[in-house]
């Protein structure tokens, strides 16, 4: 663990990313304490520019709602969507990839054709279609994002498992009479974990972007204040109140950037040999 951290620490960008992400997480946790009123409360006159009034440092939106409060509460939604949808996507992608890679043959063919079926449809278009069919509530938004983002996980896991399953330690486990399930869970998957972790950190970033894009198009949960919603609602006044789109846009940019930097750092830390080669 210590070795991992010291390797991670060597990537300065990753550390910066971690700091940014920590700030975002603190904002998300602090939101209900710092802004106990709903972010939808109409507190001042509409279109108050930033830095004009004490207590409303980022001004107000088209309905006089506090932008800073929206930003803090939006952090909760973005992180929640990013994490939960990634967990769900992993929960779909890992078993499919592991089974396909471990058993090979017909199972592999069937599962990979199924995966490719999802991969051939542009993920954003599929998410829109799914939300048009479901009610756009937060749970369905998360589900839709998970459904469009699991195929790369399945392919990655399959590849890892394929290369691992002929190793000696797997053969040894087979000889010792362990069941297939036990081998997959105890021997193969733990060794396939590093690239999955790296991929997962990037998937969180993609999920946050996807949620924002969906809300921007008005396909998000209309009862949840998210960054994408804030940009979408402000898009129409871009020419008169540009900061209303700009501020949450920066928040998304920083969070996604932080997650990508962290992903990079994780990659370095978990695959030290790879790093030496590239640097």
């Amino acid at each position: 663990m210590r070795a991992f951290w010291s390797r991670f620490r060597q990537n300065r960008g990753a550390v910066i990313g971690l700091i940014i992400l920590a700030i975002v997480i603190i904002c998300a946790i602090a939101a209900p304490f710092l802004f106990p009123r709903s972010p939808w409360s109409m507190v001042q006159r509409p279109f108050l520019p930033p830095f004009e009034m004490d207590g409303l440092p980022l001004g107000t939106d088209a309905l006089g709602r506090d932008v800073l409060s929206g930003l803090f509460h939006g952090a909760r939604v973005s992180l929640l969507v990013g994490l939960v949808s990634t967990v769900v996507a992993l929960a779909i992608g890992i078993p499919i990839g592991a089974l396909a890679g471990y058993y090979g043959g017909l199972v592999d063919d069937a599962l990979m054709r199924f995966t490719e079926f999802f991969q051939t449809i542009p993920s954003f278009a599929l998410a829109i279609v799914l939300l048009a069919i479901f009610q756009p509530t937060l749970a369905y938004v998360i589900l839709a994002i998970a459904i469009v983002s699991w195929p790369p996980v399945a392919r990655l896991v399959r590849g890892e498992v394929l290369s691992l399953r002929n190793r000696e330690f797997v053969e040894a486990a087979t000889l010792s009479g362990q069941s297939n399930l036990r081998i997959i869970l105890r021997q193969v998957l733990p060794n396939a974990l590093p690239p999955i972790i790296v991929l997962a950190s990037l998937m969180v970033a993609t999920a946050i972007l996807l949620e924002s894009s969906l809300s921007f198009l008005g396909l998000g949960d209309p009862n949840v204040m998210s960054w994408g919603y804030m940009i979408g609602a402000a898009r129409t006044v871009l020419r008169t109140a540009w900061w209303l789109s700009f501020i949450p846009g920066i928040a998304i940019l920083l969070t996604v950037l932080a997650l990508n930097l962290i992903g990079e750092g994780l990659n370095d830390a978990l695959n030290p040999r790879l790093r030496k080669r590239t640097s």
């Binding site: 709903s38 939808w40 409360s41 109409m42 088209a62 309905l63 009610q135 209309p222 129409t236």
Partner: protein, 519 residues
């Protein structure tokens, strides 16, 4: 402040109209206007949706037009009389009116249009025609309507979109819906149909044989089809179009456009329609059956804020079921203004125990979505939980028609008279699952039913006013719907387009008198 505003507007109108009177109209020029959305057809006798009326109102005419006070003015009828008992109306037609194909327009066309064609095709007119006993043409220039009983709003149904004149010589004995002439509409109006390039433009040209000497002034009109709202704003900014009919650009673009040089706008020209917005409150089942909760919702909403923040200050806070531009509006109905304290009191008296109300916003774009968000917040501040249900237009139609909501935004036209456009929302005979346009709330009050029925068939306006005042007081006290705003849709135009809005239906029939002050 409010009074001051009215005074300045009134003064501005007075100045503008005196200026208009001084100027002599110039003939000639091409007008480019926006039409949104593209109409499904232009045969006004078959299709009456908004954009169709806006274009076809220049092609077809009716017997009367209406000024901004909804008083009738001559159109194809040059004079009309009403018998003492209110049962017989006699119209005398203009001389020398010909159809666009050259055939003369006679009283036989009127009888055919009303009694045969429109009775079959026009549901809204048919509802009024049940009061009509017979329509006769004693000679070529006279038409006599005989009623079964007095029908108060009768003189209000002779508007072009309600009763367009249809050429008998083209349609008699044919399959109306599939008549090939529907693609090349023939009317008596100031402009003739020339060409329709689908998805691009509709081209009308001046009717050289129009019965009014010198009119119309414009040589031709192009109605440009521009599907995207932002592109419509840009088309106006760049001078590609000179006329934006009400509702054709998003609200938030209006201040920017009207601030441009040489740009004028008016809120007039919607008096006949009187678009009135409210939230249906589902009284079929669920929490909104509780009158105290309905009152709490009514008082919780800050409608002035919504008007100022979302409608650029355009519109009037509604006081009840009858719009202030509609006839027989009663200004002194029970108070339903924004008052959170009162809302909390009513809420405390109600049986409401924290259920989450389902609000259905109108899926007509940003303004309506923001409005629903504001209402949800208003409600939460007095302690009523609610959430927005996201739908598209089809979903909204279905949920509203199936009574699958607690609160649902809508707006409807009033057509100048409570008997034509108001009663339908509140009478119990108009409750039917499946339609989002009838008495969707499910409001049942026998007294209201009989008052509306009685008021429609009174001969004198005084008697009608008395009954309508009574019914408005009862309905406002029952709050079967949560009234929002009397909407205004400003018409925006280049200032050198003169007089585009001169009647109660505005640009729908205004091009007859419009002219361009250009060289």
């Amino acid at each position: 402040m409010k009074t001051f505003q009215y005074l300045t507007t009134a003064a501005a109108i007075a100045i503008a109209s005196s200026l208009a009177a001084q100027e002599t109209p110039k003939s000639g020029g091409t007008l480019n206007a926006v039409i949104q959305p593209e109409p499904p057809g232009l045969m006004l006798g078959l299709i009456q949706n908004g954009p169709t009326q806006m274009v076809a109102g220049q092609i077809y005419e009716s017997l009367l037009r209406y000024d901004k006070n909804l008083d009738p003015m001559p159109s194809l009828a040059k004079e009309w009389t009403k018998s003492e008992d209110g049962l017989t109306y006699t119209f005398t037609l203009q001389d020398d009116v010909v159809w666009h194909d050259g055939a003369p327009f006679t009283s036989a066309d009127v009888v055919f249009s009303v009694d045969v064609f429109l009775r079959e095709t026009h549901a809204r007119l048919r509802a009024s025609l049940v009061h009509v006993e017979s329509i006769e043409a004693p000679d070529d220039k006279t038409v006599v309507f005989t009623l079964k009983q007095p029908f108060g709003p009768f003189l209000g149904i002779f508007e072009a979109g309600t009763m367009p004149m249809i050429p008998k010589h083209i349609y008699e004995g044919t399959d109306y819906a599939n008549n090939p002439a529907n693609n090349t509409p023939i009317g008596t109006g100031p402009f003739k149909f020339e060409q329709w390039e689908r998805g691009s433009y509709i081209h009308l040209v001046k009717n050289e044989d129009y019965y009014m000497e010198g009119k119309p002034y414009l040589d031709e009109i192009y109605y440009q089809v521009i599907p995207d709202a932002a592109s419509r704003s840009v088309a106006f900014e760049t001078g590609q179009v000179d006329l934006l009919p009400g509702g054709s650009v998003e609200n938030f673009d209006i201040p920017r456009l009207t601030a441009m040089d040489n740009v004028c706008f008016t809120n007039d020209g919607w008096e006949f329609f009187g678009p009135h917005s409210w939230m249906w409150m589902n009284m079929h089942e669920g929490p909104m059956m509780d009158k105290n909760l309905r009152k709490a919702v009514m008082h919780a909403m800050d409608r002035e804020f919504a008007r100022d923040a979302l409608w650029n200050g355009n519109g009037t806070v509604a006081k009840g079921p009858v719009s202030s531009v509609t006839r027989f509006h009663e200004p002194n109905t029970p108070d339903i203004s924004f008052d959170p304290e009162k809302a909390r009191e009513y809420l405390a008296q109600s049986d409401y125990d924290g259920e989450t109300l389902q609000i259905l916003p109108l899926p007509y774009g940003e303004t309506w979505q923001r409005w629903a968000e504001a209402v949800r917040q208003n409600l939460s501040e007095v302690g009523i939980n609610s959430e927005l249900v996201a739908t598209d237009v089809a979903g909204w139609n279905q949920r509203t028609g199936d009574w699958d909501f607690d609160l649902a935004f809508t707006y409807l036209y009033q057509y100048g008279d409570p008997a034509l456009g108001v009663a339908r929302t509140y009478v119990s005979s108009n409750i039917a699952k499946g339609s989002p346009w009838n008495n969707v709330s499910g409001y049942v009050n026998d007294e209201v039913d009989s008052l509306f029925a009685e008021a429609a068939v009174q001969a004198s306006d005084e008697a009608r006013q008395e009954l309508y005042t009574e019914v408005q007081n009862i309905v406002v006290d029952d709050v079967p719907v949560a009234w929002m705003l009397e909407l205004q849709f400003p018409t925006i135009y280049r200032c050198d387009l003169k007089n585009p809005v001169s009647t109660a239906i505005g640009v729908n029939d205004g091009m007859r008198d419009a002219w361009l002050d250009r060289e």
